[in-house]
Amino acid sequence: MAKITLKDLSHSYLKAQSSDADWAVRNVNIDWNDGGAYALLGPSGCGKTTLLNIISGLINPTEGDILFDDKLVTNLNPVERNIAQIFQFPVIYDTMTVYDNLAFPLRNREIEEEKINSKVHEIAEMLELSSTLNNRASGLTADGKQKISLGRGLVRSDVNAIMFDEPLTVIDPHLKWILRSKLKELHQKINRTMIYVTHDQTEALTFADQVVVMHEGQIVQTGTPVDLFEKPKHTFVGYFIGSPGMNLLPCEFKGGEVILNGKKIETHKKVKLNSFTKREVGVRPEFINFGSEGIPVKVLSVSNTGRHKIVDTQSESGKIKIIAKPNENIPSGSAFLNFKKEYTYAYGDDWIIE
């Protein structure tokens, strides 16, 4: 059990790096507190798996350090770091039984057979594998195999952290839900640090207390699901989280104000600097109302999802989506929009201006 610290961490799979794009992970600084449930969220290819493999010790970072409880572990291997990791696709040892598969990590550490036996049965019970313990692992279905992979990660009770690399990819949707709540339940029971990599926002938001969002090798925001929703610090967080994502409209900054198409927009704070090449104003569809005056738009279409209505509109600066209540009257043709001031943010070069 340990607090995990990543310091100025960068990694590249290339020998020589010329631009930012050559780095799979760049300039990561983060503390993972002991016992936390974290989700590492980002699209495919953003460097999540690389970061995870660096923490577990499968990859040596090009630059930077990893500390466990302030002790340097950068050059230690996964066994010395005492990390458990579960991979995206089930990894099982074909020739062994389910029992031997689960016992394998313990046997490699030369633990007494008696202890192994009780531990394996405990984990098998939890994952509902008890009845298949003596079967050959190769005969199981994909989700049975993935349960074994999970079990091998969970069977060691002294690990510093458990890493999950999109572990539910191959699992049926209904089982996914069950296994995810199992993991959550397990986290409360054993209180280990868990880091859960996923590109699925629902998975991340339901599993984790703290969500770490990655984009192009960088960590763009760390926070609770509510933080990420209410105050995205990066435009990527804005449109990646939420359905539909945040409305981002090109605008101008003048005298501390945000000017959208000649109209002043009130944001949660004044804009101090003006030296950005890309200037945008962002507001989530949930925080926009129709009004008698405001930003003029044309209503394009309305789709009703049952829980709410999604309204597509066209303004001078681009399309704006609005989420309205299912019983709300949607004006047709021309309308005016008001942004909620406290949830409207200005972004300079993709980062929030505060």
Partner: protein, 288 residues
């Protein structure tokens, strides 16, 4: 399960049947013809029943060459399979080394059999060959044309040189198909290098190794050209393996009946061993 009954479907089997008939069944039938009859030419045949088969099965000469054949095949399998796996394990997995190794490895496979035999014959000649001369210069009394042990040693060395690459390439393909996650998981699980080999690599190579062993068994069991060019079956009959002995009988002595019977027995041994071996190797595959 309900099977659809449609006798017309047999028509679709005809092309395959015709092909197989022309390249296997009909030529084989001429051998069968000779195996049960005696001929003095001019297309005159006399029925002999199982006489040739009895003769071959009881002949010491056949027992001896069959024994030599099994010994040779087992020795080369015993060397080539582990050696091939070992070389495959040490080959680079990425980078410029991969094509270099693959090309180097496939070189021996591209050389025609009789050239291999001739090459090794010259290479191993005790007076002028590099290998033979060097061994003698080092103080070994080496002469593969006269000493039985040396003849076997050279034949085996030649076969290992010629065919280990096949096992290497197949094993390498098997190793390359293992996903990196398996190695990563093993690393996380704290598995030793030996455990990685026995629990991951060997089981994952099982199918290609089955094929490698089958191919090497069949090829070595039917080996002809290379030892024929290298030793000619000698000294004496020391390296006269089944096919060499068969050709001697059929074309040297013109004993067509016994030779045909021997061919059929030979054919059934190969078939039987392959079938038994394949069945054993694949016995546990059913549930995968």
């Amino acid at each position: 399960m309900n099977k659809t009954i449609n006798q017309k479907a047999w028509f679709f089997v005809i092309p395959v049947f015709v092909l197989v008939a022309f390249n296997a069944i009909i030529p084989l039938m001429t051998v069968v013809n000779y195996a049960f009859q005696e001929t003095f030419g001019n297309n005159v045949f006399m029925w002999e029943g199982t006489r040739w088969f009895k003769q071959i099965m009881l002949s010491e000469r056949f027992h001896a060459s069959l024994g030599r054949q099994f010994l040779f095949t087992f020795i080369i399998l015993f060397i080539q399979i582990p050696l091939g796996i070992a070389i495959a394990l040490t080959m680079p997995k990425e980078g410029i080394g991969v094509p270099v190794c693959l090309v180097l490895m496939s070189m021996p496979l591209l050389i025609p059999w009789n050239v291999v035999g001739a090459m090794w014959n010259i290479f191993a000649l005790p007076d002028i060959g590099f290998l033979g001369h060097s061994l003698n210069a080092l103080g070994f009394d080496y002469n593969f044309t006269q000493q039985i042990g040396d003849a076997w040693f050279t034949t085996i060395l030649m076969d290992v040189w010629h065919w280990t690459s096949l096992v290497v390439l197949l094993s390498y393909a098997g190793l390359q198909s293992i996903q990196p996650a398996y190695y990563q998981a093993a690393e996380i699980d704290g598995a030793s290098r030996w455990a990685v080999f026995t629990k991951i690599e060997l089981p994952k190579m099982k199918k290609v190794l089955t094929i490698a062993i089958l191919l090497r068994f069949m090829d070595s069991f039917m080996i002809y050209t290379e030892p024929f060019v290298l030793t000619g079956g000698g000294p004496g009959n020391a390296t006269a393996f089944l096919s060499i002995d068969l050709v001697k009988m059929a074309l040297g002595q013109f004993d067509l009946g016994p030779a045909a019977a021997m061919s059929l027995i030979y054919f059934f041994i190969v078939l039987l061993v392959c079938w038994v071996f394949y069945t054993l190797m694949m016995r546990n595959e059913g549930n995968q």
